[in-house]
């Protein structure tokens, strides 16, 4: 029991990391559910990487990285929309172009500055073990906003997941609510990158919700499962980082992916057992 509890009781930074990570798990569970159901994985990935130049410029200018990240997501989403609307190119192409362009720009900005090396690691991989009270407060505010918007927009979001045309015909603008959904993804990335980093926040969006999708029969249940799996990832990832002296952000995301494959394996075996029972029912 000591192995599981003591690190959090004896070290305040571990407790803060657990708290911050749990909030990240919660927001990523809600937003990640829509990322999966709407097939927004690619743009979600693009947003989480495309914030790099915004963060880099913000740090160079001495303003909070969160502000730069927010501007970066606006540029990314606006660019994708512009290319998709004004050309015959598919959204995939537009996303890919903006993704690599923004990432390359971010790397160039970082490579031109000599003072960036430590900041770069922090940006890419997060600093959950050094998370501040201010960052936790920001995450709580973002979580509240995300819950309120999700509840308020639950009907159009559900329709969008089911059929965007049905949403439009039902009187809910598909485009408007699609952008609101993207804004929630952007908000999640912007407030979460400080905890798990821009490279890994996408893993927290996908893996727990993906595992939830394998188990849930309802969207609410999918979010609940995603929250549970995300929180377990945070907890066990932090423990692994503490005891094995490995990078915390990466340990968390790797734990999330491992949990996904564990659930996948269990469900696959259960599915095969059910099929076997249907083909060869036991004799009474």
């Amino acid at each position: 029991m000591d192995w599981f509890i003591t690190p959090f009781i004896s070290n305040q930074f571990m407790l803060y990391a657990l708290l911050a990570g749990t909030i990240v798990a919660f927001t990523c569970a809600i937003v990640g559910t829509f990322v999966i159901l709407r097939g927004l994985a690619f743009i979600g990935d693009a947003i989480s990487h495309g914030v790099l130049p915004g963060i880099a410029i913000a740090i160079l200018m001495g303003i909070p990285g969160v502000v730069g990240a927010a501007i970066g997501t606006v540029v990314m989403i606006s660019g994708v929309s512009l290319i998709t609307l004004k050309s015959r190119l598919s959204s995939d192409t537009a996303i890919g172009l903006l993704f690599v362009g923004m990432l390359a720009l971010g790397v160039i900005i970082v490579s031109r500055s000599t003072s960036f090396s430590g900041d770069l690691v922090r940006i890419l991989f997060g600093e959950i073990l050094g998370v501040s009270i201010q960052a936790i407060i920001l995450q709580v505010i973002a979580a509240v906003v995300i819950v309120i918007v999700t509840v308020a927009c639950s009907r159009p979001f559900l329709l969008l997941c089911f059929d965007p045309e049905q949403a439009q015909v039902s009187g809910f603008s598909s485009q408007l609510f699609h952008y609101i959904m993207l804004a929630l993804i952007a908000l999640t990335v912007v407030v979460s990158f400080q905890t798990v980093g821009t490279l890994l926040v996408f893993g927290m969006l996908l893996a727990p919700a993906g595992a939830g999708a394998l188990l849930a029969r309802r969207i609410g249940a999918m979010m609940a499962w995603a929250t549970v799996f995300g929180t377990l990832s945070i907890y066990f990832g932090l423990l692994a980082s503490y005891h094995m002296n490995i990078a915390a952000g990466a340990a968390i995301v790797l734990t999330a992916v491992i949990i996904f494959f564990m659930v996948f394996t269990v469900q696959t075996v259960r599915g095969q057992q059910v099929r076997r029972m249907e083909l060869h029912p036991p004799h009474e």
Binding site: L37, L159, E165, Q166, V169, S170, G171, R217, R218, I219
Partner: protein
């Protein structure tokens, strides 16, 4: 040259649920069908019949406001398309989400009430009764709590039709509604449509099924242009069907 009949007016403008005048439809300035003119009285039914790619789905999408007309005029339920979401229920042809979404059958049917409830309207007992009635009509009330991905293709189609019925709309716009339905499902659907017409709803349906089309008040034959519009007796003739489909279609 494809033979074109004159417009058949199903009723006066004051009782018209759908009115199209010299309407051109298509995508991004590419015309699919031009010069469509039709009027449909409230409580009547119109079947769009044609080959794949003939413009049936394009016309349905224009009627519900998903596509803007390229030229001409179209009025649905007294307003431009897309302006009366509470009054129009739409069944699209494709549902890509069937095997992905964690939704039960009843969750899908409940979505049929969303346009009437709006963003934050409270669902009442009356709404739930309409949902259950729609499921019972389509014979899927026993499957209410079954996940969508467990259902067969035919059961899913019945669920989507139940969603449309739960809407209690003034106009039902249906794209290939009987696709994937077995004989029992088709008979249940036919009875459901008769009940909708009895309560005064207007039905516009795109179908490959000539027998289904023959039960409607009006039929429009499409082949990337309007081949003919009229009553089933006038339109569903061997000659016109040959001109529409390019091969002899048996119809009894």
């Amino acid at each position: 040259m494809i033979h074109t009949t004159h417009i058949t007016e199903a009723g006066s403008c004051s009782t018209s649920c759908l009115s199209a005048q010299h309407l051109d439809i298509g995508y991004n300035h590419d015309t699919v069908v031009s010069d469509i003119s039709v009027q449909l009285k409230c409580g009547q039914s119109l079947a769009l019949v044609g080959t794949n790619g003939s413009g049936k789905s394009t016309l349905l999408k224009t009627i519900v406001g998903l596509l803007q007309p390229l030229s001409g005029e179209i009025i649905a339920l007294g307003k431009k398309p897309g302006c009366v979401p509470q009054g129009i229920a739409y069944l699209s042809q494709f549902h890509v989400s069937g095997f992905v979404l964690p939704l039960r059958a009843i969750d899908v049917v409940r979505m049929g009430r969303f346009s009437k409830l709006g963003l934050w309207g409270r669902a009442t007992k009356a709404d739930e009764e309409l949902v259950m009635a729609a499921m019972k009509t389509m014979g899927i009330d026993q499957l209410a709590n079954t996940p969508l991905w467990y259902l067969s293709g035919g059961q899913q189609q019945r669920t989507y039709i139940a969603q449309v019925l739960a809407h209690r709309a003034d106009m039902l716009v249906l794209d290939e509604p009987t696709a994937g339905l077995d004989a029992a499902g088709q008979e249940i659907f036919s009875q459901a449509i008769k009940a909708e017409l009895s309560r005064g709803a207007t039905i516009i349906t795109a179908t490959h099924d000539i027998k289904e089309a023959s039960l409607c008040d009006l039929v429009m034959l499409l082949a990337r242009q309007v081949v003919a519009i009229g009553t089933p007796q006038e339109i569903l003739t061997p000659d016109l069907l040959l001109k529409t489909f390019g091969i002899q279609i048996p119809h009894h």
